[in-house]
């Protein structure tokens, strides 16, 4: 099924791009499940989201959207003038051409968080108590002992890769997995992904 709803990060901030050709109820449902899967990405209440297509919506459609925003802690921001048409086109493509990957070259320490709408690369460790939350993939060039959440908006094809995957918690889209109790220190890099509805850990390719 085509994605009627996509979050995009841009220099103007976070935008909710809606394919207005899709049935609006379907859009609301897709948005709802993405927001559910995003968990705490929006929980701290300062996710400001623009909705470029709002000007094309009926009042009651916009109201439904606003209600959903309120329910999940999103803050509605009025859109500045920009080129909407090209944005709407992107929704119909696969969204993996995101060039907006965040690269961080340091070790994340206890209490530090990286939150990004697209993919994240950490060159360093992720220590216990640190968190990486990404709309796309999470790649850690180091040891992951903290929490990694990929596909935070519901993208179940997202992956988490680490040189040493010792994460206290792995989350992909809406699925959560704990590290096993008997932890063999892995000798090689591993990737966590969803296969057949469960999170599996495989050697990284």
């Amino acid at each position: 099924m085509r994605d009627g709803v996509v979050f995009k990060g841009s220099k103007d901030g976070l935008q909710l791009v809606i394919d207005m050709a899709t049935d609006f109820d379907v859009i609301i449902n897709q948005l709802k499940s993405k927001l559910e899967a995003a968990g705490e990405f929006f929980a701290n209440g300062n996710a400001v989201v623009q909705v470029p297509s709002a000007k094309d919506m009926l009042p009651e459609q916009q109201q439904k959207l606003v209600a959903l925003f309120d329910e999940y802690g999103l803050v509605w921001q009025d859109v500045k003038e920009c080129d909407f048409d090209s944005l709407a086109d992107d929704v119909n493509q696969n969204s993996e051409e995101e060039s907006n990957t965040l690269i961080i070259s340091k070790t994340l320490r206890n209490g530090q968080e990286v939150v990004h709408s697209n993919s994240v690369v950490i060159i360093g460790d992720v220590n216990p108590g640190a968190k990486v939350i990404a709309g796309g993939d999470v790649t850690i060039n180091g040891t992951c002992r903290g929490v990694a959440h990929a596909g935070a908006f519901g993208d179940e094809t997202a992956t988490i890769t680490a040189s040493r995957l010792l994460a206290s918690q792995i989350r992909i889209a809406g699925l959560i997995s704990r590290s096993p109790d008997k932890l063999d220190i892995p000798e090689y890099a591993e990737t966590a992904r969803i296969r057949d509805g469960v999170v599996v850990i495989e050697p990284a390719r």
């Binding site: 320490r109 206890n110 209490g111 460790d125 216990p128 108590g129």
Partner: protein, 263 residues
């Protein structure tokens, strides 16, 4: 201009105050002019560990409130000519002072002293922010326990974001026998996770309890392993290249001798 060093940890009870007292006394034994600052307002302890609790007239908050001059609040330790203490207030709380006041106080102290050593309170709130405000460098104390190391990591992150880079680590209360048996994390494990430079290690030592009972920092007595460890740390802080102590896991001669006399 002297150096302002803050001794911090995040977790409580890992040995910040003991470390402050011993490093400070260690510097004084070498003739350096040192002032120890107790930043744990409301729960002062550095005075008791130093054995100076009955000499307190004015405290840090009296100074920052302007009730007295800095010189009036400083207590000179009569045992070591060049060692001074600025005690914390006991009846106020951490909000009685702000970071700018602390910064100014540290600058003033650094004019007259070779080393200003600040005993930081546990936690990450106002007390912590006050204590690090005036510091040139930070020393982090941890024990080989999961909770202490996690808290130390948090502190390192906070220090970095406050512009205090490159903190050094002291691992305290190591029990070599437990490390050997694999029941206690060893130094390499801790350094791997925290990724900071190691300043020194201090073995678990019953003598610390005795020295606190007496109010006489252990570093002044020749009898204990902890004393040697602290002396080594002082040396390294002054730029000397002192190798880490090898901690024996079998009983040394003195341990057995002590048992003969039933001490």
């Amino acid at each position: 201009m002297g150096e302002v060093i803050v001794i911090t940890s995040g977790k409580g009870g890992v040995g910040k105050t003991t470390t402050t007292a011993n490093i400070g006394t260690g510097f004084a034994l070498l003739g350096k002019k040192v002032v120890l600052v107790d930043a744990d307002i409301g729960l002062r302890n550095l005075d008791v560990v130093m054995g100076l609790e009955n000499r307190i007239v004015y405290d840090l908050v009296d100074v920052t409130d302007g009730n007295c001059r800095l010189k009036q609040a400083l207590i000179r330790d009569k045992r070591y000519e060049t060692l001074y203490l600025l005690p914390a207030a006991q009846t106020r709380d951490k909000n009685a002072v702000n970071p700018d006041q602390m910064k100014q106080l540290c600058q003033e102290l650094a004019q007259d002293f070779d080393y200003v050593i600040i005993d930081c309170p546990a936690g990450i709130e106002q007390g912590f922010r006050n204590a690090i405000a005036g510091a040139d460098r930070a020393i982090i104390v941890t024990t080989p326990e999961v909770s202490a190391v996690r808290d130390a990591d948090r502190i390192i992150g906070l220090l970095e974001s406050e512009g205090k880079h490159n903190p050094k680590l002291i691992v305290n209360r190591i029990r070599p026998l437990m490390v050997k048996k694999g029941d206690m994390m060893d130094i390499d494990d801790i350094i791997e996770i925290l990724a900071v430079d190691l300043l020194g290690i201090i073995p678990e030592d019953e003598y610390i309890v005795i020295s606190t009972n007496r109010g006489e920092p252990a570093v002044a007595s020749p009898v204990s392993l902890a004393s040697t460890a602290y002396k080594n740390i002082v040396g390294r802080l002054m730029g000397e290249n002192i190798p880490l102590m090898t901690l024996e896991t079998n009983d040394g001669f003195f341990e057995r001798l002590k048992r003969v006399f039933r001490f």
